[in-house]
Symmetry: C2
Subunit: 169 residues, 2 copies
DNA sequence: CGATATTTGATATGGTTCATAACAATTATC
DNA sequence: GATAATTGTTATGAACCATATCAAATATCG
């Protein structure tokens, strides 16, 4: 982990007021830390989530909520267990997440007629509309920033390597 | 968000017993999700941390603890504020982390003579020895797995891109 | 059919991580 | 020398993650 969100700008906040005065204690050497995959990965992930939240501020969607809307749109009619486990979310924790989306009228639970235990998930019209706007924001503000920073080819390569790690590590 | 640790194997657990029976409800389509940087990044990060913990099981070191040891070894004589903020850890949260390392005799707090407010951090002999063993474990078990999966060139490219994101996003 | 086991959504609960406010001791500022 | 700022610390709350358990509904199998 090693990193926080709004808190400290890692290498920045290290050298404080002292610098102006006398000793000017220099910045710390990261050393082997900057070669540690986990360290860099975590840092990058926090930055990306931070940026995502800023881009989505107007829609008030977290990465988790966005991923649920995306998945339900692509797979309407699936139940909570299926959607949650596909996202790696535990069913108990998925309940509050859904409560939130449902209370905002973005998503609806419908009792299944086949299996009256399960709740079928679908996006409401508002949910579809909000998701459409969210996609545009992500594309133009968030993912575009990536292309700008890495270039399309590198961006694709990065995604592929991360997928490989996520699936085969 | 989106993913858990020991819990669910995302795409795996989705299709449960039903498959054997009749309808065999198929796996969900990830769709645009697999193109979302944040989603893939988070997944990869969880996998990497999980693997790190397994590799370090014999030494009982978390990624955060390992990063502290690495940083203190490279920068002996710095105080808590400097080390914590370099790692992006808030000072209040750094206290318990240090308490742990100190109670295991891996690291020591020494009252500074210049500024009697601050605690100078150093590794104990045991701390140095444990860190040396940890480095070997990480190199041979953890990072080696990466080279095996991506190849050295790709591994380097990945690290560089992640650093860029972490620093410039 | 009918007893038993399983699945689904939900609740309660505890652990871990992250963030803020406040405090005493010490030092810096002016 | 009075006031402000810094250091380590405590207390505390929010958010996220994980486990056990429950009632309702369904599946399984004798």
């Amino acid at each position: 982990m090693t990193v926080s969100k709004t808190s400290e700008k890692p290498a920045e906040a290290a050298r404080g007021r002292k610098d102006a005065a006398e000793g000017a204690s220099e910045a710390l050497q990261l050393g082997e830390l900057s070669e540690q995959l986990g360290y860099v990965l975590k840092r990058a992930q926090l930055k990306v989530f931070e940026n995502f939240l800023r881009c989505m501020a107007s829609l008030q969607l977290t990465p988790a909520q966005f991923s649920v809307l995306l998945l339900v749109e692509k797979n309407p009619g699936r139940n909570q267990t299926e959607v949650a486990s596909t996202l790696g979310i535990l069913r108990p924790n998925f309940v509050a997440l859904l409560d939130n989306l449902e209370s905002r009228d973005l998503c609806a639970r419908i009792r299944s007629t086949n299996d009256r235990r399960s709740h079928i998930l679908v996006l409401t019209d508002k949910g579809k509309a909000v998701l459409a706007r969210a996609k545009k924001l992500v594309a133009t503000k968030h993912e575009a920033r990536l292309n700008e920073l890495l270039g399309p080819a590198n961006r694709a390569a990065l995604l592929e390597m991360l997928s490989k790690i996520a699936n085969e590590f």
